[in-house]
Symmetry: C2
Subunit: 212 residues, 2 copies
DNA sequence: AACGTATTTGAATCTCGCTTCAACTAGCAC
DNA sequence: GTGCTAGTTGAAGCGAGATTCAAATACGTT
């Protein structure tokens, strides 16, 4: 990327290089699949040789796990940042829903998450990562819902955990639809569909028109 | 599996063998991933050599696509069969929801579908297969919802397409959770969560206790 | 400026899966 | 039974990716 001549690969500290590699692994996995990815593809993305990659990660699986972990962390942190400053529960809920969906079919963050769905059935580590992320998102929604209820803005039709789980589930599923390029479900449409449920569950009209 | 001596591989007609191979590919993909699977693994599952597999499918990708296609068809047909005889809309809806979820983490049919989620972002054929399946399931739910509304059993809070899409989306997402062995979301819990939404959307209490 | 070390390379080696194909054989037609 | 054909094997060759490691080198330290 930022390489003067692209001829002599500049050296980096262990920590810096590992961050580069995590990023390179991220890109390579999106192109070739979380399980179909090859060492050389990652090395190429990082602008290194395969030997250098192995020097930092003798076991490639460790790198892949770290890349997934970092991807999830980034995904979650980005959401928290987006909703951080919002105090109105209704607006917060709307923005949260939007931030859980991919920008479009090529959103790299969500693409990586989708890669894991199938592998989780075979790989306990991946299953744990995904499950943990799911539960964290549920908690996040629960907080918003309960705050809204406490302020009298929401009238919850079900307990907050049920609503929160269903909201996260809807997000996940529409994420997959968007990544698969469904002809009539784009990010805006997905938000609308999820909001249709959220309205029933919170008793709030949740008008997204003027916000964001 | 059903082989007397396991020594001489019995010959089969082209059509029969292709069915065997589709089945073998199905099993191999679940064990090794939709994209990480190797020719030899499929051959072994089928009790043949790699040469024999290539004789029937010179391009392995064709076999994989057919296996996925067949898997989806079976999944869909099985659902239709389960709900075929039910006339009461409420019961039909409940049974339909249940039939869209895996029996457990090892349900092979759903496991295969989950494999495709990530690949769909990279592979147009897989994306189309998944999208088509989604739309068919939406239609299925729409029919049930509208029939129920016509009979006065359901009072739809939203248009039938919205409800149907959300129901399918919830099914999909909880399928992933179950496959990933979420500690507190098993098939029964997932049905309950989806029914919680369905109750709001249909205005029907949908008591699953005595049915099924 | 010279040293020492952490990082990276490049080539050699090894492994493994894919591909090809001539030879073999089971089952069908006659 | 004889012959024919389609299905299958097994071995050989090929290529790609993983792995190893000695040599090279960039960079911080002194």
């Amino acid at each position: 990327m930022t390489q003067r001549e692209s001829r002599p690969t500049q050296r980096k500290s262990k920590a810096d290089r590992r961050l580069d590699l995590i990023d390179a692994a991220h890109r390579a996995m999106i192109q070739h699949g979380a399980e179909g990815v090859h060492l050389n593809q990652i090395a190429e993305e990082a602008g290194l040789t395969s030997g250098a990659v192995l020097y930092h990660y003798p076991d490639l699986r460790d790198l892949l796990i770290e890349a997934h972990h970092a991807g999830m962390e980034r995904f979650y942190e980005r959401r928290m940042k987006k909703i951080g400053g919002i105090s109105d529960p209704a607006e917060k809920l709307i923005v949260t829903i939007r931030s859980g969906l991919p920008d479009g079919p090529d959103d790299t963050g969500v693409r990586l998450l989708c890669e894991l769905g199938g592998a989780a059935g075979r790989n306990r580590v991946y299953a744990t990562l995904l499950t943990t992320l799911f539960d964290r998102q549920v908690s996040m929604y629960q907080t918003i819902l309960e705050t809204g209820a406490a302020h009298g803005v929401f009238t919850l039709a079900q307990d907050s955990e049920t609503i929160a789980r269903n909201l996260v589930a809807l997000e996940d599923a529409y994420g997959y639809r968007i990544v698969a390029r469904h002809h009539s479900i784009d990010p805006d449409k997905a938000v609308e569909l999820i909001l249709d449920y959220a309205r029933l569950a919170t008793g709030n009209p949740l008008r997204p028109a003027d916000r964001r």
